[in-house]
Amino acid sequence: VRWIAEVAGFSGLMWILVEGLCRVLGRGGVSDDVMFAVQMGAIALLPVGVVALFGAVSWRARIIGRLVPMRRAWRV
């Protein structure tokens, strides 16, 4: 269940960011060429970003797992 929530969360987060960017730029009078470039970049980055964020959590767990004992040792 946690992993489903993570995937949904990361996907939703990236989607909101890209959609918001498109809307802000579109209302700001940015040219169609730039908007298309933004859309192309978003479509390339969104899947990579979801996989990277989802995968990165395991690295975070590993890094925290290493840092916490070090911090405890430093306090002692």
Binding site: V7, C22, R27, A37, Q39, I43, G55, S58
Partner: protein, 483 residues
């Protein structure tokens, strides 16, 4: 359980692949068949010969003008598709929500060629593009699934990145069932990785405005189409526009002609170059006067045109078209084998549970049922009388009827605990349907019909290859059971 990168990515790949793969299999297979959409349409309209001339005669232009004026009475957005190398004839067509339909005229003298009503290859194009759900919501679903496909590809590469070269050289079809399917899955994935990434990415980019809408000022649409200027013969105006358009674009480079209340626009054929440029020559609707040659935007618009061209592949010569087809088949095998693998891997732990059996039945219905329904669609084309009213819709109904029956059979077999037997029966039916298609065509095709030998050989060859593959997999399954 250790929360490792490989475990997490494997989970993402498997579950996203299962949920998206059932529909993506449909999108990939129909897209693969749509590579030859015009050829399938030609095969499905064997009733008469259509002249192959690329330039219509004056008499044909006159009759085409009359056909257009008649069409505008009931279909105000009807337009003209010019003869092409892959699809001969002049076509006065309009969009009915699924396909461009309308009469075909012979470019030699303009007579209406008596062809049976069918959606033809456009059916597979529509299934691929919108899942038959309409341009707005269907295309959005397909675009989102293209993103899901990209997530699946990226996660699959992360999983297999260490052994990409080794996987390219490894295929053991007679090993254990899991190993054989995994080899097939990885081999097709690695072999066609660039193609699959390109198609998924360009497919999503084509619908970028649906995925990430950009607020733009609303364009002022042209007035109603089909308004005829009084007192000026339309056939003369059309002939002048086509003649001058051919001078500017080259006679065999005209794709289609659009009409609005004030202009006639002669567009460059999509088959003429990689970029789908939409270059067009405009003429005054009242007197055929040349208004100008509108070239496409050389900036970012050109990038979009190249993306469209890469995905839709109208520009491709025959070897490249077959390469698209074979790569699409490999992508379809990749998705299908992934779906099968999901259930083989979990059978020992969850094989007796209801969700597992239901899911396995759905996979059976999609992976073997969709090719079966596609062959059934071609069978229906030959068995439904050419003059029957509403026969185009009847063919589509047969497609979904066969698929529905297949799904019911697959799910019932799986719920009853006989999924393996269900697979064997499904493959037997698919093999018989596909292998007998050439026989049926030979038996019932009208004498003196207009299907070229190349198209016939192509359709028969693909049907026989599909039937042989079904029989081959059936044989391997039987061998596995004995072992």
């Amino acid at each position: 359980m250790r929360d490792s990168l490989r475990l997490r990515i494997g989970w993402l790949h498997a579950w996203l692949g299962l949920l998206g793969g059932l529909v993506l299999f449909c999108i990939f297979l129909s897209g693969t068949l749509a590579v030859f959409d015009d050829e399938i349409t030609l095969w499905m309209q064997p009733d008469a010969v259509v002249g192959t001339a690329q330039t219509p005669s004056p008499q044909a232009v006159t009759r085409t003008a009359a056909a257009l004026e008649q069409a505008w009475r009931t279909r105000p957005f009807a337009f003209l598709m010019m003869p092409g190398a892959r699809r001969p004839g002049l076509h006065v067509v309009s969009y009915d929500g699924h396909a461009f339909v309308g009469p075909t005229l012979d470019p030699a003298d303009g007579h209406v060629v008596p062809l049976r009503a069918t959606e033809g290859g456009a059916f597979f194009y529509d299934l691929h593009f919108t899942l038959r759900l309409g341009e707005r919501y269907g295309a959005l679903v397909v675009a989102v699934l293209a993103l899901v496909m990209l997530v699946g590809v990226v996660s699959g590469v992360v999983l297999h990145v260490r052994g990409l070269v080794r996987d390219l050289l490894t295929f053991r079809p007679f090993a254990g069932r899991f190993r054989a399917w995994l080899d097939g899955h990885v081999l097709t994935g690695v072999l066609c990785l660039p193609f699959i990434v390109m198609m998924a990415y360009t497919g999503a980019v084509i619908e970028a405005d649906l995925l990430f809408p950009v607020p733009r000022p609303v364009a002022d649409d042209a007035a109603a189409v089909g308004v005829q200027t009084d007192g000026v013969p339309f056939e003369g105006v059309l002939a002048r526009a086509l003649g001058r358009g051919a001078d500017v674009l080259a006679p065999d480079r005209i794709g289609f002609v659009l009409f609005d209340a004030t202009r006639i626009s002669v567009y460059r054929s999509d088959a003429s170059r990689l970029a789908m440029t939409r270059d067009h020559v405009d003429f005054d609707r009242a007197d055929g006067r040349f208004l100008g040659f509108v070239r496409s935007d050389p900036g970012g618009g050109r990038v979009q045109q190249v993306v469209d061209g890469l995905h839709i592949a109208q520009w491709t010569p025959w070897p490249m078209r077959w390469l698209y087809f074979l790569s699409g088949l490999a992508g379809t095998v990749l998705i299908g084998s992934g779906l099968v693998l999901f259930f083989i891997k979990r059978r020992s732990r969850f094989g007796a549970t209801l969700p597992f059996r239901l899911g396995e039945g759905l996979v059976l219905a999609v992976v073997s049922g969709l090719p079966g329904a596609s062959v059934g669609f071609l069978w229906a084309n030959r068995l439904i009388p050419p003059s029957q009213a509403g026969r185009a819709g009847a063919e589509v109904a047969v497609f979904f009827g066969v698929w529905g029956l297949w799904a019911v059979g697959g799910v019932v077999a799986s719920l009853a605990g006989c999924a393996a037997a269900g697979w064997r029966r499904a493959l037997e039916v698919l093999g018989v349907l596909a292998l007998c298609l050439p026989l049926l065509d030979w038996a019932v095709r009208p004498v003196g019909g207009g299907v070229s030998p190349g198209v016939t050989v192509g359709v028969w060859g693909v049907a026989v290859a599909l039937g042989a593959a079904a029989v081959g997999v059936r044989w391997v399954l039987r061998r596995g059971r004995k072992a």
